[in-house]
Amino acid sequence: MSTLAPIPAATPHSPSAASRVTSIALMELRIIFRNKTVLLGAVLMPIAMAVYFFYFGAEQMVSPASTAVMAGLTLMAVALLGVYLTATTTMATRREELFLKRLRSGESSDAVIWLGMLVPIVTLVAGQLAVIAVGFGMAGMDAPARPLVVLGAVLGFLALCATVGMFTSIYTPSAAAAQITTLPFFAVVFASFFWTAFDDGFETLSRLTPGGALQNLLMAGWGAIPLDVSTAGAAAALLAWIVVPYLVASRRFRWEKR
């Protein structure tokens, strides 16, 4: 009589999840640096945007609040273009190439594949932001009063752009289509960022938006507003904007083209 073969103990030479993420991430970096169009989008464009903002906004950075606004605008421009748009485009391209399906036919878990694709994009932009921050500092921008809050806001917003990019890629059939499918989130982030400047009685609601949460945290980081419950609410909102798109995307993610 035939019996089912049991699953043996785990293969001893199985690479760790971290090792697999690193391998995929290095592969993705290699591709980014080989493709001039992608390289231009991922590296040069965000820096150009930052220089543009700084050139036209440097003289306005006279108070902690205006400095926080300028930092926020720069961060949004760089992160949305460098992380959000690139993550959406990369996921859509790899899906179109059926490379995501290939990776999933191997031993890596879904989370490892996603992380491997997103980590290099986020790391690259984090590096760009560090360079931009040094440049802003040398140009006379005031350092934040609460650097850890700013750091948390920056990293949180980068993670947000990555997970929302992953989510947006579900509805993005091709790399070209990413130019269209990413527009709504660009609009939402910028609109909600500016919304926080108005005393319209909806301040609590505005802090729940991605741009509003970011702006609130940056304001607190530069000491323009106190660190209080509303800041904690903004941090929680930012976290929710990271986690919820990830959870939805992980359930509805498409591994192959339609």
């Binding site: 699953i7 199985s14 995929i24 290699r30 399906k101 031993e107 878990s109």
Partner: protein, 334 residues
């Protein structure tokens, strides 16, 4: 270029064994009442399947019969809508992490990162796989590339490869981890004859060394030549299953001939035969379906000889897989 005998066997394995050292009478893959639906469309409609360790099993069927959905469910790419699936003792979808290191999967359609070279693609894949360390990664890649005639393309970007070369690279990635169970979804589609030979050399070498192989193909002669057992799917169900002799044994052979229109062919019915007649203006075309070709052919020839009837365009053909396939495709299961 021909393949030397020394490279015919899969180079990464030595000696005969079965999956994970499992005895050959254990089951590597089983499905009971497997159903898979895409929304309201049910692609697989309740199939039962059992594949032993070390077996070479071919899953055949027309386009849209449900082969690829079945394969992808067995591979763990999608969850079954209902029914029970077991692959190497676990649920391929739920227990993916523990099962995948023992699987090799060559999908019907899967891509590459086009800007990577062939060698970089292999290196990435091996870094993601729990490949045995009997050889270094460099040795594994070099041997695999040589075996599949891709050595000259090692530094070529994947986007520059031809369709056949991409398919061979596909196979290399699927087999690089020395799998216990290898799924091949139309592995030779688009390959030239020499590449097909190389593909089968490699797969047979693996199978000889104990790897269970599950194959889908549209080339019936490949299934006839390599498979220990086969199944033919139609309309989401398995219509025919068994070894080649078992499948052919259930399929009638055919004796056909033409006689003058004046011949009383109805006499054949009285001889225990069940002929089909197709009258034409000057002759009658007769087809006799036979489960005992030698006996029935003798009967037909004796009838013709005894009645001095000339049989034109006489032919007698054994049952063929192609005939079984055609019959199943027409919805007439055995």
């Amino acid at each position: 270029m021909t393949t030397s005998p020394s490279t015919r066997a899969f180079p990464f394995r030595h000696g005969h064994r079965t999956a994970g050292g499992a005895p050959a009478d254990t089951i590597a893959v089983s499905a009971e009442g497997l159903r898979c639906a895409y929304g309201s469309y049910e692609a697989v409609r309740g199939i039962d399947l059992s594949i032993r360790n070390g077996e070479f099993f071919a899953l055949l069927g027309t386009n849209g019969a449900g082969k690829t959905t079945t394969m992808e469910t067995l591979e763990g790419h999608r969850a079954a809508t209902s029914g029970r699936v077991s692959v190497l003792g676990g649920d391929p979808h739920r227990d993916r992490a523990s099962i995948r290191p023992r699987l090799g999967i060559m999908l019907q359609e899967a891509g590459f990162a086009d800007d990577l070279t062939v060698e970089e693609t292999c290196r990435l894949w091996l870094r993601l796989s729990a490949a045995p360390r009997s050889r270094s990664q460099a040795q594994t890649i070099a041997t695999g590339l040589e075996l599949l005639d891709l050595t000259a393309k090692a530094t070529t970007r994947v986007k520059m490869l031809s369709g056949g070369q991409r398919r061979r690279l596909d196979l290399l990635l699927a087999t690089a981890n020395e799998p216990d169970l290898l799924f091949l979804d139309e592995p030779t589609t688009g390959l030239d004859p020499e590449s097909r030979e190389r593909t089968w050399d490699l797969v047979q070498g693996l199978n000889d060394a104990g790897t269970t192989v599950v194959l889908t193909t549209h080339y019936l002669e490949e299934a006839e030549r390599y498979a220990d057992r086969l199944a033919i799917m139609h309309d989401g169900r398995i219509a025919v299953e068994g070894t080649l002799p078992e499948v052919l044994g259930r399929e009638p052979s055919v004796i056909s001939f033409e006689v003058e229109a004046s011949v009383d062919v109805l006499q054949l019915g009285g001889l225990g035969l069940s002929p089909d007649f197709t009258p034409t203006p000057h002759s009658t075309r007769v087809s006799v379906h036979s489960m005992d070709l030698q006996q029935d052919l003798w009967t037909v020839l004796s009838w013709a000889d005894g009645n001095r009837i000339r049989l034109d365009r006489l032919s007698a053909s054994e049952a063929s897989l192609a005939a079984v396939f055609r019959r199943v495709s027409n919805g007439d299961a055995a």
